[in-house]
Amino acid sequence: MPSDAPAPARPGAARATSTGWGRLLIAVYAVFAVAATGRSSIQLATQADEAPFPYALSALAAVLYLVATWALASDRPGHRRVAWAAVTVEAAGVVVVGTLSLVDEALFPDDTVWSAFGAGYAFFPALLPVAGIAWLLATRPRG
């Protein structure tokens, strides 16, 4: 029976974030990267004046998803730090924007990916950074 994850090359070494179940996490991140990029480019290209604040946030979310996907999928040492930065800002973003979108509806004439904590996307936007942080912790270098 093949094991779910290869053992680290040496004890204490970090496990590559793109192996094992990270594969699945990155696949979901990639879906959101493409979806958020598509959504925000069309919004900004066709109706940027209507709701500049939500659309700018959608663009920020798109960039974060792209960076997180790329950094998690790459096994270079420095990319772990980039992935940490992306998922942490993403976690803060979904909490702050999710709260703001419920408290001050006037700020949000149109929805963002993070509105109401990602309710429009089955709350995946709220779950993803949690899963990302958990995965970065699980694969971190030990010792």
């Binding site: 994850a5 594969r23 699945l24 990155i26 696949a27 598509g38 069309i42």
Partner: protein
């Protein structure tokens, strides 16, 4: 958007997800059967894209053609990427990538059909 092709693609997508779920439970890697289902789905998605492109050219519809076709191009393009990503991991976690693909595609097709129907004159 041709509804029967959309329904057929969604069904094959769910079938792919279900089959991959069984594979993951049994700790199996992507094999020719899974790839055959994915290949069938790819053919269906290409058919969806081509017929939709013809609709954009021939029908009066207010839907933004770029938005509408982007969904369908994205669906087609996702298939080879998914195959590469799934087969790059030598454990059942790689097989699980097909579950994501099979579950997400029906939603994307639904969104595309909503975009198209909203523009119907």
């Amino acid at each position: 958007m041709v509804t029967w092709i959309q329904v057929a693609n969604s069904v094959v997508g769910l079938l792919l997800a279900a089959a991959a779920g069984v594979y993951v439970a049994r700790d199996r890697l992507t094999d020719r059967v899974l790839l055959a289902i994915a290949g069938l789905l790819t053919v269906g998605l290409v058919a969806q894209l081509v017929t939709s492109f013809v609709l954009v050219l021939t029908e009066d519809n207010d839907a933004n053609p770029v938005t509408f076709l982007a969904y369908l191009v994205g669906c087609v393009a996702a298939m080879p990427v998914a195959a590469w990503w799934a087969r790059g991991e030598p454990s059942r976690a790689g097989t699980a990538v097909w579950i994501v693909v099979g579950l997400v595609l029906p939603f994307l097709l639904l969104r595309a059909s909503q975009v198209w129907d909203a523009g119907a004159l």
